[in-house]
Symmetry: none
Subunit: 249 residues, 2 copies
DNA sequence: TTATTTACTGCAAATAATTGCAATGTTTTA
DNA sequence: TAAAACATTGCAATTATTTGCAGTAAATAA
């Protein structure tokens, strides 16, 4: 592990847990406490954290910035996104749902791809707005604040009027029996409309979502053309999905 | 393997794994570490990666992060925003245009304000999405990428159907004769629609926009109820506007 | 206060990076 | 075509960085 990686690891842990402990870090990283302390000192000098006796905490006066989106499991999500790139082609009409997996994917899109992309996620739209050859259409409506996506009638109405080649859909949970399920009712409705509007449906999610369930059904797995996870496609966990006729990447 | 190929290989691996290790690369490519280091140096000089002890990591893309919005004259814009706060009341229906002045204003809104806000700007929507008591409606449409706002028919259609109490409108340029003018045609059209949809129009801009002109007319100054700048309201520069019946804050 | 835990400092060993140099291969020029 | 100029690569010597350890200092807890 490179030093830079290690410092990243520390910062990520700090953001996630709002504190880090010197001894614990030394154990986890398999290094001496001295080294960890030196890292913490460097990060402190850079103003990235506040050192305290026993470890470190986030810098106190750092005002909460809505534009800093914390992505968990970013590495896994990047692997997923890289696999998904093979599904992109010039000229496609694409619908992208929200979620951090799709956000990571958005960052990996080839800079010169020519495509039309519909989305209803603010962060994804911001990310995609940097691509010069992409026609980007934001699906307006009432904002669901925590997820930063639009929901409701307006969204459904727009989706009912478009026809896309492919749809990249995040997932709260998936299992063989119920298929794709969502935490929120409104989001499940919107996702249903996305399905209807797309020829092909690709669902991307980290393996921890496999074989879990949330309240609102979106669709059975027979409705999915492709699923992409961070696992090897012939992992035991994915066997059932493959048998059910889903392409597993 | 050509040198160019090799460097491509390194860059690809770097993007995929977010790190490369000198020794590992030397093994994989069957070359000495020295050669790899020379490659990494070249790529570093070209700005394609960040060299660190033991290998390299991607260039810290903090600078080109779309989520980091650079705000010029932030201090002045904050002054303007603070003045504008007096115009906010619970229960209002508000339309907010884009621009960094409005973005700064958005950050200053009292956390508990109860209001309905329509906007067509991605950054402003992201900012406003943190307020729990604000009903936020994003006006969808085709994205204009540099400004990160939606434009076009869809936007006009939504605006034609709403009625707001107040509209906070940024400005490219303003002068006594032509009034408010814009750089882009599409944006000027959208702003006209905003005017029509609002009882009251407030325009906020830094003083450097005063007495300047851009190609596309939005409206005469008689159409503005209030203008807010970073100047003192009875500054000489604002006299004419005051005489024309505009409230100057 | 004392005991205990945590942090800092200098030092040495290990690891990595840089530099000059020579051998080899490639391109340009006469 | 041959010679010269240039580029690439690996090696060795030198230099720089990182790391853990030991001793000591500082902070916290009892």
């Amino acid at each position: 592990m490179l030093k830079a990686e290690r410092r990243n690891f520390i910062m990520t842990k700090l953001v996630k847990e709002q504190r880090v402990n010197t001894i614990e870090l030394a154990e986890v990283l398999g290094l001496s406490e001295d080294t960890i302390r030196r890292d913490l000192n460097k990060l402190h000098v850079k103003g990235l954290l506040e050192k305290v006796y026993g470890g470190a905490i986030p810098v106190s006066n750092k005002e909460e910035n809505v534009f800093d989106i914390v992505i968990s499991n970013e590495k896994k999500k990047r692997e997923i996104g890289l696999k998904a790139l093979s599904l992109l082609h010039d000229g496609q009409v694409i619908i992208m749902s929200g979620g951090t997996t799709n956000l990571v994917f958005s960052k990996l899109i080839p800079p010169l791809l020519k495509a039309t992309i519909y989305t209803y996620s603010l962060p994804i739209a911001m990310q995609l707005s940097q691509y010069q050859n992409i026609d980007l259409i934001f699906i307006g409506g009432k904002m669901q604040k925590n997820a930063m996506v639009t929901i409701g009638m307006d969204v459904l109405q727009v989706l009912s009027k478009i026809k896309a080649d492919i749809c990249f859909m995040g997932a709260s949970s998936i299992n063989i029996k119920q298929g794709l399920t969502e935490v929120g009712y409104e989001v499940s409705i919107v996702k249903k409309a996305m399905l209807e509007a797309s020829d092909k449906v690709v669902s991307m999610f980290t393996a921890d979502k496999l074989n879990s369930k949330t309240p609102h059904v979106v669709c059975g797995i027979d409705r999915l053309n492709t699923i992409i996870t961070d696992l090897n496609p012939d992992d035991e966990l994915l066997k059932e999905y493959h048998s059910a006729g889903v392409i597993v990447l």
